[in-house]
């Protein structure tokens, strides 16, 4: 195992945690909208939100590179604000978050679909608007699914490789995550070191996936 294995694992876990926190609001709100609401353009929006799940991650990375690169309007605005994103830890977080949103969305949506819509109708007759209904009725009733969605989103973020390598580069000690380090070490023939990182990666992923299944199972009982 490489000397800085725990450092790489901790960096990956921290990046995945921040990415999950970023992916949760859009994933959960979209999951709620797609579970219960009908509106024009819903199918197109739902398909677009799922794209990071079905597209090659490197292609998503290329889109992000174009969107955030110095020649794009967003990149120029970030540059003007003195924010460097590409090839920094922020790019790692963005890549992970974008790849996590669909899995968060799908899990949260399944949870919201299990919530009896009559509770929301009842809340409306009691004078609550859509935001209050979401925050005080739908979200708590789908709480376990949202927690499971967070764990799965974290696991997905942890496994992120393609988009990360495109926009964060995998600079050792700066933007190198477990997945990227496993690839780099294997490439240079240090397979034993790579195996060590693989074990750490396996442990983290197993833990997150187990936690997700556990909260969902408790919801069903």
């Amino acid at each position: 195992m490489p000397d800085n294995a725990l450092g790489i694992a901790a960096f990956s876990a921290l990046m995945a945690l921040v990415a999950t926190l970023l992916a949760l609001p859009p994933g959960v709100v979209l999951g709620w909208l797609f579970a219960h609401k009908s509106f024009p353009g819903r199918s197109v929006l739902e398909t677009a939100a799922m794209l990071p799940l079905v597209m090659p991650p490197v292609a998503t990375g290329l889109i992000l590179l174009r969107l955030l690169g110095r020649r794009s309007p967003i990149g120029q605005a970030l540059d003007a604000a003195g924010l460097e994103v590409i090839f920094t830890w922020k790019a790692v977080v963005i890549a992970m978050a974008v790849m996590s949103v669909p899995i968060v969305l799908l899990t949260a949506k399944a949870g919201f679909q299990q919530v009896n819509p009559r509770f929301e109708q009842m809340a409306a007759t009691l004078g609550a608007g859509p935001v209050r209904i979401f925050l005080t009725v739908s979200l708590p009733l789908a709480g376990r699914s949202v927690l499971a969605a967070a764990f799965l989103g974290f696991a997905r973020a942890l496994g992120e490789f393609g988009a990360t390598i495109m926009i964060a580069g995998g600079i050792p000690g700066e933007t190198e995550t477990l997945s990227v380090a496993i690839y780099r070490l294997t490439e240079v023939g240090r397979e034993d070191d790579a195996m060590g990182l693989m074990l750490l990666s396996l442990l983290l992923a197993f833990g997150a996936s187990f936690a997700s299944n556990h909260v969902l199972r408790r919801q069903q009982t």
Partner: protein, 220 residues
């Protein structure tokens, strides 16, 4: 008392509701077998279901008009709704349920809790409560919104006869003390004759007869 007028058509699959009535409501009873359209009519008045055509007017306010493109959102109707299964929020305490829709102009929590005899339950979770307790809490929750009209869907269907006789006086108190007009759905002719002053006998999505309980229920 409040004027309630509706003339609506609602279609869902094979079922068509086509009903009209205009009356000054103190307690309006909806009477008829399952599938008659009583709950659908309540839900249309509450704003949960949108009719395909027609009009619903409560007092001076048009709640729904297909021709004028009006559909007042349920939250803006000031209509309390007590469904048959109470639909208490399972993640909240009894107090949380009662306060959910409370307005500053409404009755205070203690008054409602004492009137409905649910004060000892306030800090309880809703799981494990009896059918009668759940109905009284759902009723209290609706009253806390200071409704202009209260819709009650078979509030006594889920409770046994003994409890039924205990809950009915609470409903009479709402009518008497609070002066909240009611639209009251039931299968039970006896219950209706005790509480309603006008009854719509419904069947197959239509109003078959309308009038005082003694007139329309005797002819049943």
């Amino acid at each position: 008392m409040i004027d309630l007028a509706f003339d609506i058509r609602f279609q869902q699959g094979q079922f068509t509701l086509e009903v009209a009535d205009r009356s000054r409501v103190n307690v309006l009873g909806l009477f008829g077998p399952s599938g008659a359209g009583k709950t659908t009519l309540l839900e249309a008045i509450a704003g949960i279901r949108k009719p395909s055509r027609g009009e619903i007017v409560l007092g001076d306010t048009t709640l729904f008009s297909a021709d004028k493109g009006i559909h007042v959102a349920p939250r803006d109707r000031r209509i309390g709704y007590v469904p048959q299964d109470a639909l208490l929020f399972p993640h909240m305490s009894v107090r949380g349920n009662l306060l959910f829709g409370a307005t500053s102009s409404a009755l205070d929590l203690q008054t409602v809790a004492e009137m409905l005899e649910i004060a000892p339950l306030l800090s309880r979770r809703v799981q494990g409560l009896s059918g009668g307790e759940r109905q009284r809490i759902a009723l209290g929750r609706a009253l806390m919104t200071h409704p202009a009209l209260l819709l009650m869907d078979e509030p006594l269907a889920a409770v046994d006869r003994e409890r039924r006789e205990r809950i009915l006086p609470y409903l009479l108190r709402i009518r008497g003390e609070l002066q909240v007009p009611l639209v009251y759905v039931t299968h039970d002719a006896e219950e209706l004759s005790q509480i309603a002053d006008r009854v719509l006998v419904m069947g197959d999505g239509r109003v078959l007869r309308a009038g005082a309980p003694s007139e329309v229920i005797d002819r049943r």
